[in-house]
Symmetry: C2
Subunit: 218 residues, 2 copies
Amino acid sequence: MTTRRTGLREQKKQATREALRAAALRLALERGPDNVRVDDIAEAAGVSPRTYNNYFSSREQAIVAAVTSEREARVAAAVADRPDGVGLADAVVEAVVDQFTASAEPGREALLLLITTRPALREAFIGTTAAIEHPLAEAVAGRLGDGEPHTARVLAASVAAAVRVALEQWLRTTVSSATAGGLVVPAGSLADLLRTTLAPLRPALDAAEQRARRHRQQ
Amino acid sequence: MTTRRTGLREQKKQATREALRAAALRLALERGPDNVRVDDIAEAAGVSPRTYNNYFSSREQAIVAAVTSEREARVAAAVADRPDGVGLADAVVEAVVDQFTASAEPGREALLLLITTRPALREAFIGTTAAIEHPLAEAVAGRLGDGEPHTARVLAASVAAAVRVALEQWLRTTVSSATAGGLVVPAGSLADLLRTTLAPLRPALDAAEQRARRHRQQ
DNA sequence: ACGCAAATTTGCGTGTACGCATCTTTCTGC
DNA sequence: GCAGAAAGATGCGTACACGCAAATTTGCGT
């Protein structure tokens, strides 16, 4: 069930996706994102321009994907993996913080600077938070038991929305401090900002968990 | 402060916006939405195609706007207007239900049928829920006192997300019952669906209200 | 190995979104 | 009223997203 499609086909698909990601990132960094056309990315990745849009539905998605790749699945997995002893609220909050703080790629800093600068990229970056909604909903549903799938969806959507708010705030302060001070200061850690922003949702998560527990014991 | 800009200029602007809305709606209803190009709408409204995109940033927005017009402001106003005796959760939920249930326009039924049918219109319709976020945030902030504006933003974003979830569900069941039964049945009232979907957020709204109250008495 | 079925890539055509420069309309202070 | 400023409308050019159908590649049973 993990990888339903296992074969050369799926392998090549991921390779193409990765090639497009890498090409987009490299070109954006060396030319500046405004001087990169999708034709350039496609050519650098060795596929047709039309194929690019089979993988990404906007020019910015490929660039941003370098920083957000697979994040959705990792958040969901992290939530599902926390032991049952940990409360739902803690599980969700810490999973989100972990996955959004973990920096793997080199050149991530330069890319983030780029993202903070260009409005179109900011928009695309912000947009990626929506992707965590469905995986997260399933993970939450798994923890709540399948009593009320509605609730899990709503909570996941709310968490995603809160994360989006946090990122907007973070980008706002980052870009303004960059503009004002000339130097890019994180303006308070993203981790703290995420925790603060998610705090108002804790009561909702707790209540849902209690309800589910009660329902289960009945 | 209500209408900062009061003059012939703003008046004409609103007239143009309304003309585009009306033209888009009329054409979509009589030809089917796939047979309407933005050039047609612009021509029918008596403006240049370029001007269309100064008002709406996608072809679908004008069509959908006929049903969502001004909803954002009305929801916010409704929240702000409920007496302080009513709890925040009730104020928000009922304001949302009222404004999403209120049907003014004639031909709303036909338009909704259209929206449920065409994927692109569904997407645009769903997208309009995001617009209530900022006005709602201000209304909530007004009720919570200006202690923690963060909280208001997060709660408003969560409510908007929950409304989006409800509409998605509603459209899903509506379209499937339309496909299956041949007749469009509301498949349970939208009002009930909204109340159910917003229910999980009530604890968060209550908690924020309590916190604000405590903070104020201190 | 072979061939059919399914998935993917590609080229093409159309409609769309939007930056920019320019022209027209409206607003403001005098 | 009037002259300059500000805001909006328009035309043009470019890049982009995507439906569609033909061509190519991969998977699988035999």
